[in-house]
């Protein structure tokens, strides 16, 4: 199996790894870098549990080769806190009980941040539509929708 070298910035830290060429970005994050907060929930790019920000945009890291992220800025759920404080979107998820088992949560939070980057004040219909690539089996999305609206408001202020 041929190996390749990839280098990228992950959560602000420059990393350089040698991996089999077929390695997916999510495998690099989870298995090489130990960033297990990013999850794999399906193998057909439907569930969104593996979403990370690549150059500021939400990407399904199970559907991107590590090689494709060469040179990119990658932000995962582990990189959202600053000075030990939750990101406003993380805090909103906690305040509004927007997670139960927590498995889809990292992808949901990443998608929510991506949404707010595109629409600083999304309404309920916009939020629900934007989550079409993220499954949650626990919450019925009710509190996730509320949390994203509240998180967006907190990010504006």
């Amino acid at each position: 199996m041929s190996s390749i070298s990839v280098a990228m910035t992950v959560n602000g830290t420059r990393v350089s790894e040698s991996v089999p060429a077929r390695t997916l970005l999510v495998q690099l994050l989870r298995e090489q870098l130990g960033l297990t907060g990013t999850h794999v929930g399906c193998d057909t790019s439907q569930c969104g549990a593996c979403n990370v920000l690549v150059n500021g945009r939400a990407v399904k890291s199970c559907t991107m080769l590590a090689a494709q992220a060469d040179g990119a800025e990658v932000l995962t759920i582990e990189g959202l806190e600053s000075d030990g404080q939750l990101h406003p979107m993380q805090a909103a998820f906690k305040e509004h009980h927007a997670l139960q088992c927590g498995f889809c949560t990292p992808g949901m939070v990443i998608t929510a941040i991506d949404l707010v980057a595109n629409d600083a004040n999304p309404g309920e219909a916009t939020i629900r539509k934007y989550l079409e690539g993220n499954f949650c089996r626990c919450t019925g999305y009710h509190n996730i929708v509320k949390a994203i609206a509240a998180g967006a408001e907190a990010m504006r202020s």
Binding site: T38, C101, F135
Partner: protein, 793 residues
Amino acid sequence: MADNGIGASVRRVEDDRFLTGRGTFTDDIDRPGQSHAWIVRSPHANAKIKSIDIAKAAAAEGVLAVFTGADMAADEVGSLPCGWDITNRDGSAMKTPPHPPLAVDQARHVGDQVALVIAESRALARDAAELVAIDYEPLAAVTATAAANKPGAPQVWDEIPDNLCYDSGWGDEAATDAAFKQAAHVTTLELINSRIIPNPIEPRVAIGEYDAGNGKHTLYTTSQNPHVIRLLMGPFVLGLAEHKLRVVAPDVGGGFGSKIFHYAEEAIVTWAAKKVGRPVKWTAERSEAFVSDAHGRDHVTTAELALDRGAKFLGFRVRITANMGAYLSTFSTSVPSFFCTSVLGGVYTTPAVYAQIKAVFTNTVPVDAYRGAGRAEANYQLERVVDKAARELGIDPVELRRRNLIPSSAMPYMTPMALEYDSGDFAANMDACLKAADYAGFEQRRAAAAKQGKLRGIGLSVYVEAAGLGPSHLAGKLGAHAGLYESAEVRVHPTGSVTVFTGSHSHGQGHETTFAQVVSEQLGVPLESIEIVHGDTDLIPFGMGTFGSRSIAVGGSAIMVACDKVIAKGKKIAAHMLEAEEANIAFADGVFSDSASNQTLTLGDIALSAYVPHNYPLDSLEPGLDETAFYDPPNFTYPNGCFICEVEIDEETGAVAVVSFTAVDDFGTVINPMVVAGQVHGGVTQGIGQALLENCTYDGDSGQLTTGSYMDYTLPRADDLPTFAVEHNEIPCAHNPIGAKGCGEAGATGSTAAVINAVINALAPLGIEQLDMPATPHVVWRAMQAAKAAAAE
């Protein structure tokens, strides 16, 4: 009430780790020297395995070993057990076929485990799996529930005629037949409870590890009940005694029933780890989950309701054919039988109820409990028939229900299925729900929708479940091989902080918060000084785990009893330290006080004395402050409530939109209203999913699963759902110390009928009386076209 005690919407303590990526799910665990397993699965629904050639795979890059069913059989690995025996109507025993972890001579469903490849990486194991050459002889297969028991159907098991696992009867058949004979009206409904694939977002994972130094095995697994897995897999499958087997279920990403059962892969990796001398990890891909996680529901039912001239229910009779799949999963047999039939009386005074249940084998994935197991199927049948009766008799469905509800004054109420409801005010739930949903204003909304080209419908469902599983003596009489108590150990540390070891398991329910609230309330200890530990058989005394809405009602009650023991011992210590009479010692808010002297000691003072017993009654009391309780409930709990759903149907496309959903539930004492509402949202969503979106289908000829990915199986998305209105009507459970009835399954139990009743209500003006789930746009559109064509003739 303690500040963060019972009744407070405390924000969850577990959220910080999940929100920052610090959770530890099973796939996040890597063990030193770990190898990786890939399981070769049958592509055929039914096929003889004529030969397996592993030579090429065994020689492939990075491969450590390749095993087949013959290797496991040679090691005398046993059959995956079914934990619940059902007796046939003629008194004979049900049929229990073998279930080897790896199939030996025949594969019986698409996805059946046939061979195991272990390699240095998952990718290499998967590559090598392609090289395992299996010579299959495909056989005819049967997948449809209604077809399995028909003469001439393909046989799943040669030794089990007509694919019949059991044919059991529940209730009083003669009394029910008599009720139908004197009925003024009988409403009959044939319906299907569609097949569901549970789909927790975390796929199953199992890691086996063997320590040759002490002969001990460890299994890390995505389980709702690690002790049950230790018991089933250890002594019964692998021949391992419990003291040499540790089962760990760390953070688990949702279960919904599907992670209760003992799965083949758990036994396979545990066995294989010793064979290869290295830890073995298996992680399911979603595609594998679709063909290996136990499915849910899948009943074909004829339901009949007998009414007198006053529209009082005289009798309810159902005949159900339930699909077991190809093998009997752990609790499969109990679901259509005990769990479904026990609550067929529902919230009504119906005096006579009878159910005949036939369970059949098919060439499909095993079927077992899914959120609301059995009770959801019962409620769906009953509430659908009641609505149909109301239409046939020209009575408002609310009025028909009102005439037949069990009044709260009749509690405790003995049902014809031998359950004793301890408490509940079903009429109050319904009235509150009607008000919250503005039932009275519906016709105006219907008229407004019609102007927009939308057919609007409203449907309700009143429900009661048997939850809080359950009284062990009753379970034993009903065929269960297990007890249904729960354990708790409350360990007060020397300086007064507390660790609780619970046999319940949290996979989204929030126990680390809600159980701590219970302890905080009982012991007066602040929440931040309480740690809830679960999911490790080496740490927890024992545990039956989490299913059947039992965690707070049974596990929480065990914690209450253990706290009471701590307090009782603390009083003895306090009496000694204060030189007081024990009878004069009271305990409240974390403080022991002597009513005679007004002297006080904190729980921390007592704990320190218990562990540093210099001034301590050592002649009559052991040191330490660490108490264990096993709580066995005297009765089931009976969560109950009312749901009202409103839908709008697009006449052009048949698309159904849920425009509002209102729930009023009686879960008894509510520990954390925020968490409980979240359970309702999730449960209702699973019901809406089943009613409108989700459907597991097999191709009838090939036996292939035709909904084997998220591109074919429609999981509910955010924009398929409304905002929910949820209210609680708290009537404490009368027989457990915590007063809680459980809330995990209610949403899924009561919602399917409310949604389909609303759809039928919207379509009834077109003459449509019956639709089966899921009411997809295709199903609804076809029904509308057929109805319009019929009307035009």
